[in-house]
Amino acid sequence: MSSITLTDVTKSYGSTQVIQKFSSVFQDREFVTLLGPSGCGKTTMLRMIAGFEKPTTGEIKIDDTVVSGEGRFVPPNRRGIGMVFQSYAVWPHMNVFDNVAYPLKIQRVPRDEIRQRVEAILEAVHLSQYVERMPNELSGGQQQRVALGRALVCNPRVLLLDEPLSNLDAKLRESMRFEIKDVQKRFGITVVYVTHDQTEAMAMSDRVIVFNKGAVQQMGSPMNIYRHPANQFVADFVGKINFLRGTASEGRIDFPGGPRAPSQRGQGMAYDGEKRGPVVVAVRPENMTMRADRGVLHGTLSQAYYLGDTNDCRVDMDGISLRVIAAGNTYGQVESGAPVWLDFNEYLVFDDDGEDQTRILS
């Protein structure tokens, strides 16, 4: 059993608060991802769990042990945690074996056992044939695996990963994703994973915690976060989305649109929600249907890129450019520059509070 309990944790550097009050319990064997743009506080959070940073207030427990709290602080070397660093932090003066064996040497594990366990781990991270190599003779992906092996060799209660894949190329990143997930399942450990890449977060996590400016924006399963973003920041950060400013009234949302004659009425669509007044409608590109002949909203197809399974389009709607991912077979049915009709199949309505206006189009 290895859970992590964070209670009212905050962190300030001088007068700047970088983490606002945060509480959560990471369950045993849970894969938790801290997601957010750079500088949002996610790495600080992770480093507090590791013990490299000390929370300004609050308490951190691993299982039932308080590792950081009122008058108590367990240094990182006594926390029994495995960690993979963004820069890998593979020691350049030790070969693969010595790097991985290091935590065991610290624990004074007998030599034979060290050999066995290191070999087993190297097997698990597919490095068996590189035992004697020095780090500078390894590729980025292999160094990454050394770091992972070193973090796992002691059977840690908790594994922390700080943007471990950000220095790898796209293809390797994708395969490492599965490897890490696989390792987590096999070893049955609790993982806290930090990333700014939402695809990574979606693919691997049981639970995603979205951070911005030191505050939690939303906590939930990947699907929950994607389909029901709590606010415009989350909607925008996770996945692709279009924002449209409009006015909600009983049964209807009107889009004032771009420049048009005052007599002309804007476009609108049916709405059965509770919100009234200025709103922001958020719709994902894949949640729209584009047709040549009928629909609720109309616009002009300005660009279309045929991607095989889909047709990636830009539709100009009263001066607003919407990204629409339409079915592949729509390509060629509608010419660039021709009028099109759009239906919003699934969308979200946020109050227009004037904040979080990232890419809001009005």
Partner: protein
């Protein structure tokens, strides 16, 4: 990798790397106290042996018995000899600066950025000259360009059928020539380093925009490098102005005084008034040097945009095409004239019986080498120098390691104070440091270490500590903190992680830093000239007395020995650190 007295300090300003919050140690008051105690100890050392003596020097030159006065300055400079000395210092240092940069920039560019033949070799050669004591150059050129019997002079006169020898080393021109050939490496090193750090895509962007290689050098490389070039020039200026070895060997026979030689003359007079006059001259020199240091570090340093990236990038190499061979020949000629011929001259002189005749089988002797290895007087000075330089280097590198830790791994308050003091100390002319120590450490203020090796060690540390510190700091800042964190998270205590991870990674730099303090301390001349006593003569001073009074051949043998040592140390460092370090 190499460091110049304060040229290296300039680069540091760009490297505002994110320091690691070592906050996992914060909870223990013990660690905070260790930091505070270490800073206090280092600051205390610097206050006593660096700040206080300098401050006293300034005080004494401005305050007479009746309070503040400029009387001494007025008296000193109404004496034409001193006025001339100041003028000579400024003129020779200024010209050396101009010529030094004019030589160093193209050389650095050719060696660093073109496909000239033998780049690596030339680079090592020019950098190594940096570690050779300047007085060796003076000795060599004295023999080459003596107005009556100078080898080169005679050769030139015969070549062109001149009735008299064309060149005279005992002149302002001669002084400038030797100063330039011995201080341009300072500029070469500073500029090379900046060039290495310059992002090559800046030049690529210029080329892709259609600029020719020459146009690129003139419109991108040169302007981007300008702050470093200015800094390099100022470094040459201060070094040349503070130099004693060259003007004392070349200037004295030609009756060309400089501020440094005047200061030492005044000290040798020995009277109270002599000391006051020396002090006043020293303060003038110190003010000039510190002003230049200030401009260089805080004005040029701020403009060093090139170092922002901080990472070393692979420079793009320009193909010289049909110019490749001619350019290589030109640089070879330069190296021959400036490095090979002078050093060979000194080496040959050490084997020559009669210096008036060329070296030949009948004029060959190993007598002077025999003297070098047997005469007790010389061996004693070698022992003194070895001892004091080793202690200075060991203590200095210990302080350097602590400073590196404080600067790169902690947020301790006040950690910049010793850093600043060490930088200022190194920028202060040697003659000023020595004089300040004499004035304050002879018992007047409760400390009497005059006439001991201790005062030499202290002086060497004040002057050369920066070189060691920069080396270790730079090595330490290149070790990503996560390497240490990875060890902590693996379960190691911080002591263990220092031992297992940090130390092995910085060890080559620590060794290199040790030698960077040791070598200049070992053959030091200027400070030793003022601080020696009968029992504490150093090899540098011994060489100087042999050169000036007894036997130029013996002096040449000593100088050749030092040259050999420089080469060997350089080679060891290269091997030890797999080419990463050389002096």
């Amino acid at each position: 990798m190499f460091f110049t007295p304060f040229g290296a300090a300039l680069f540091e300003t760009g490297g505002n790397r994110v320091s690691v919050q070592a906050s996992f140690q914060e909870n223990k008051r013990f660690h905070l106290d260790v930091k505070a105690a270490l800073i206090t100890a280092i600051v205390a050392f610097l206050l006593v042996f660096n700040v206080f003596p300098m401050a006293y020097l300034v005080f004494r030159s401005f305050f007479g018995e009746n309070g503040f006065t400029l009387e001494t300055f007025k008296r000193i400079y109404t004496y034409p000899l001193n006025w001339n000395a100041l003028r000579n210092t400024l003129v020779t240092a200024g010209l050396s600066m101009v010529f030094g940069v004019m030589i160093a920039f193209p050389l650095a560019w050719l060696v660093g950025r073109t496909d000239m033949y033998g780049r690596k070799f030339f680079r090592t050669l020019f950098v190594m000259t940096y570690m050779v004591p300047p007085y060796v150059g003076a000795m060599a050129w004295l023999r080459l360009l003596n107005p009556r019997v100078g080898t080169l002079n005679v050769f030139l006169a015969n070549l062109f059928g001149l009735s008299e020898n064309p060149l005279n080393i005992y002149s302002i021109g001669g002084l400038v020539w030797v100063l330039t050939t011995f201080y341009y490496p300072y500029a070469f090193i500073t500029i090379s380093r900046a060039m290495e750090k310059m992002d090559p895509s800046l030049e690529e962007a210029s080329k892709i925009s259609g600029a020719s290689p020459l146009k690129t050098v003139m419109t991108v490389t040169f302007p981007v490098m300008l702050p470093s070039i200015v800094a390099a020039g100022l470094l040459v200026f201060v070094s040349a102005a503070s130099c004693y070895g060259i003007p004392s060997i070349i200037g004295a026979p030609g009756q060309i005084d400089t501020v440094t030689t005047r200061i030492i003359d005044y000290v040798y007079v020995g009277s109270a008034e002599g000391l006051t006059d020396a002090t006043t001259l020293a303060v003038s020199l110190m003010l000039i040097a510190n002003l230049v240091l200030y401009v260089s570090t805080f004005i040029c340093g701020k403009k060093q945009y090139i170092t922002v990236s901080g990472k070393s990038t692979r420079p793009n190499i320009m193909e010289l095409g049909r110019w490749r061979l001619p350019v290589t020949l030109l640089v070879t000629a330069f190296a021959l004239i400036v490095v090979v011929i002078p050093f060979a001259t000194v080496a040959m002189a050490s084997f020559t019986t009669n210096l008036g005749k060329p070296l030949s089988a009948s004029n060959f002797t190993t007598r002077y080498w025999h003297i070098l290895f047997t005469r007790k007087g010389i061996l004693d000075t070698v022992k003194n120098s070895l001892l004091s330089a080793s202690i200075a280097a060991t203590a200095g590198i210990a302080i350097s390691c602590v400073m590196a830790w404080l600067l790169t791994r902690t947020q301790a308050k006040g950690r910049r104070i010793p850093d600043f003091l060490i930088t200022v100390g190194s920028g202060t002319p040697s003659v000023v440091i020595a004089l300040a120590l004499i004035m304050t450490m002879s018992g007047r203020f409760g400390i009497n270490i005059y006439n001991t090796l201790t005062i030499m060690i202290v002086a060497y540390m004040v002057k050369y500590l920066l070189m060691g510190m920069r080396t270790v700091v730079s090595a330490m800042s290149q070790i990503h903190p996560s390497l240490e964190e990875a060890s902590l998270i693996s379960g190691a205590e911080w002591q263990r992680s220092f031992w297992d991870v940090t130390l092995p990674l910085i060890a080559p730099s620590v060794v290199a830093g040790w030698f960077l303090i040791f070598m200049p301390s070992f053959y030091e001349l200027t400070m030793s000239t003022l601080l020696y006593s009968t029992d504490t003569k150093t090899i540098g001073y011994e060489l100087f007395t042999y050169q000036t009074y007894h036997s130029q051949q013996t002096a040449s043998a000593i100088a050749t020995g030092i040259l050999g040592m420089v080469v060997i140390v350089n080679w060891i460092l290269n091997k030890l650190t797999k080419g990463e370090f050389s002096i």
